[in-house]
């Protein structure tokens, strides 16, 4: 299947509904972006509508969500249905890839959902912005340091349902971290000590692969905070490099 294929539905929307139909150009742009992803043809090879994927899908047990339905929408190029599914359903997936391991067509509904999530972000869907708001701490930590999680993020305030004690031994977090016998782990603000040079290299990756652009679309404030941190750290690194030059 190629981006030029056209089994797209001619009539978008319910002809009996007084609601205005969705802008077809927008729907097409969204679908074309999904189809244009290099992974698309590899992860969608046809669909028997057999439902094996849904039968063992953990998310399908708890949400109004079915990977079979998502694959069918993509396979039949149901543009409005795809747009609809991108509002909420794609965010139900737990990304376990049980579906991919079992599908007789070797489809990967989980991977197709990832493509749809990326496209939802690219098109700035409000639903994506809403859904990702609670995830901003992880993004802030990851993009600014290269670590996705840190000891100081795991507090009883943020994870109240994990119980009042993060550790069963009552001692300050800093001391408990120092008592871990791996020197790289005696940290609080990152899961392990990430070298400043390493974080700076990662910033180049973020910039050159469009990740910062994604972030700007989804959360402008977070983008501002993160780019400020990046600027500061780059300055620190330049200072360090200059100090090295002086030593030579």
């Amino acid at each position: 299947m190629h981006a030029t294929a056209s089994r797209k539905q001619q009539h978008i929307g319910d002809p009996l509904s007084p609601q205005p139909v969705l802008d077809r150009a927008r729907l097409e742009a969204i679908f074309n972006d999904i189809q244009a992803d290099a992974r698309y043809d590899h992860e969608l090879n046809g669909c028997l509508n057999c439902g094996i994927c849904t039968a063992t899908c953990p998310a399908a047990q708890y949400y109004d969500f079915s990977p079979r339905e998502i694959v069918q929408l993509l396979w039949t190029e149901n543009l409005e249905g795809i747009y609809d599914a991108m509002q909420e359903k794609i965010w139900a997936c737990a990304q376990c890839y049980t579906c991919a391991a079992r599908c007789p067509f070797r489809n990967s509904p989980g991977s197709l959902i990832m493509i749809m999530r990326e496209v939802a972000i690219k098109h700035g869907l409000q639903s994506a912005k809403d859904v990702l708001r609670p995830f901003s701490r992880v993004m802030l930590k990851l993009i600014s340091t290269g670590n996705q999680l840190s000891p100081d993020m795991i507090t009883a305030d943020h994870f109240a349902d994990w119980g009042p004690n993060i550790s069963k031994i009552d001692a300050p977090l800093k001391l408990l971290r120092q008592a871990i016998p791996m020197p790289t782990l005696n940290t609080m603000q990152t899961a392990w000590e990430v070298n400043l040079k390493t974080s700076i290299e990662l910033y180049t990756i973020w910039e050159m692969t469009g990740v910062l652009k994604q972030l700007e679309i989804i959360d402008e404030n977070l983008f501002d905070v993160i780019t400020d941190i990046m600027d500061e750290k780059r300055e620190d690194y330049e200072d360090w490099r200059e100090s090295q030059d002086g030593n030579e």
């Binding site: 992974r39 953990p58 992880v138 119980g163 871990i180 790289t184 782990l185 040079k197 390493t198 973020w206």
Partner: protein
């Protein structure tokens, strides 16, 4: 298949026979059989391409450089789902850490390094590495194939050159991936890199800018290796240093989705482990240590982590973890411990037991990683090394069953904290080795 009295393997393979169940039990059993997904279910499809063939071609054509597993890495061969050979390096390893393990359950990596110390395995644990970034990607969609590929190639390039800091040649250390999600993600990304010239072209520009090419070419590792695979091929050597008998323990295994459902063709299956019907890692180790591995109907289910769900859909995570895993392990398998091999699973299954109780789901079981279990069985200190105080589940019960006086061990650790406070903490290796370049680096220290 081992026919251990009282275990629930019967009915899972060619040895099936009528169990003459009551109607109620039959219903439970049907659900169980429905959940049965063995090797045949995974290999019943068309045989898939081995991307490593493409890797060899690209290497021959001079397009990429392959970080080879050499004799000095003392590789041990294992078989994957399709019977392909995968070489697992067992020496000179570069630890590619997991942010979830290091941040949440630090006894996971410390147990692994401790085992390596006991076995005399040379390794490097350093600061020049980032997370794989795949947790964030799978949770949020922020990131893309290109960014994931660049992170993969950057980290693995660092593994390749890391020994320079010790005055040793490139390629000396081979990367060992701690996190199951990193493992699955890196393998997926490697396959796309090997298949797509366009992707290679794009990422090459980024890697060139970072100075992370080898002779102007992308560096691809011969294998992407998970620590559980190292444990698997080392299991008889680990057994040889075992000091605690675990024969009475009933253990259930939670195989991690990103370890064997993602890029399933690369997962290790071993004829000696469950007749080669299921992914062999962890189960093989736990059996080698002599514990009873007990089957349970929801073994194939995920843990409920969900990447985004653990942060913002906690009810799903909690319900799934408790109803589909913890309760089944306790009520159906009557297990003493659940053992896993991935970051998110251990966290989810462990931490949700607290709120599970508050939500009226009264089931609890100790949750540990395979390397923590192995380290304990080999005499590691439960708090100093296995760091079990970070676990919310009743790990004390497990320690008691293993004959370990946990109260004494806890008191020892509490007084050890005083030593740490006074700057007399102990480390598994010389801390000077942890920084190989950039700010903080010191003169080369020999391996």
């Amino acid at each position: 298949m081992n026919d251990i009295e009282g275990t629930r393997f019967t009915g899972h393979g060619p040895e099936w026979k009528d169990a003459k169940l009551s109607a109620r039990d039959a219903r439970a059993a049907t659900a169980w059989v429905e959940a049965k997904v063995d090797r045949a279910a995974l290999t019943g499809k068309d045989r898939v391409e081995d991307v490593r063939d493409r890797m060899r071609e690209l290497e021959r054509d001079g397009e990429i450089v392959v970080h080879r597993i050499r004799d000095e890495h003392a590789p041990v061969e294992a078989k994957t789902l399709y019977g392909w050979t995968k070489r697992i390096p067992t020496a000179q390893l570069w630890h590619h850490k997991s942010c979830g393990q290091c941040g949440n359950i630090p006894g996971y990596p410390t147990s692994l390094l401790w085992l390596m110390n006991q076995l005399g395995t040379v390794y490097l644990d350093e600061t020049d590495q980032t997370s794989c970034t795949a947790w964030n990607y799978h949770g949020s969609g922020i990131g893309n194939l290109e960014s994931l590929a660049c992170v993969f190639l950057r980290n693995f390039h660092q593994a390749y050159v890391s020994a320079r800091a010790q005055g040793l040649p490139d390629g000396y250390y081979f990367p060992l991936v701690h996190c199951g999600t990193s493992f699955g993600n890196y393998k997926e990304v490697r396959a796309y890199l090997l298949r797509s010239a366009e992707l290679r072209e794009k990422v090459k520009k980024v890697l060139a800018k970072l100075g992370r090419l080898v002779d102007g070419k992308l560096l691809i590792p011969e294998e992407v290796v998970h620590y559980s695979e190292w444990l698997h091929v080392m299991r008889s050597r680990i057994r040889a240093i075992q000091t605690i008998d675990v024969g009475k323990l009933r253990a259930v295994i939670h195989p991690a989705c990103h370890v064997y459902k993602m890029v399933p063709e690369d997962a290790i299956y071993d004829d000696e482990v469950l007749d080669g019907n299921r992914v062999a890692v962890s189960t093989g180790l736990v059996q080698a240590l002599g514990a009873q591995v007990i089957d349970y109907s929801t073994w194939y289910d995920c843990c409920g982590f969900g990447f985004r769900h653990i942060i913002s859909e906690r009810e799903f995570t909690r319900s799934f973890a408790m109803d589909r895993k913890v309760k089944v392990a306790v009520e159906e398998a009557h297990a003493d411990v659940m053992i896993g091999h991935d970051t998110g699973c251990i966290t989810t299954l462990d931490k949700n037991q607290w709120i599970g109780k508050a939500a009226g789901k009264h089931a609890e079981i100790p949750i540990v990683a395979d390397c923590q279990f192995a380290a304990l069985a080999c005499g590691a200190h439960p708090y100093k090394i296995a760091q079990l105080h970070w676990h919310a589940s009743p790990v004390e019960k497990l320690l008691a069953q293993m004959g370990i006086d946990w109260q004494r061990a806890k008191a020892e650790f509490e007084s050890y904290l005083e030593a740490v406070r006074n700057g007399r903490g102990e480390h598994l290796y010389d801390p000077r080795r942890a920084i190989t370049s950039g700010p903080g680096a010191r003169k080369p220290v020999m391996a």
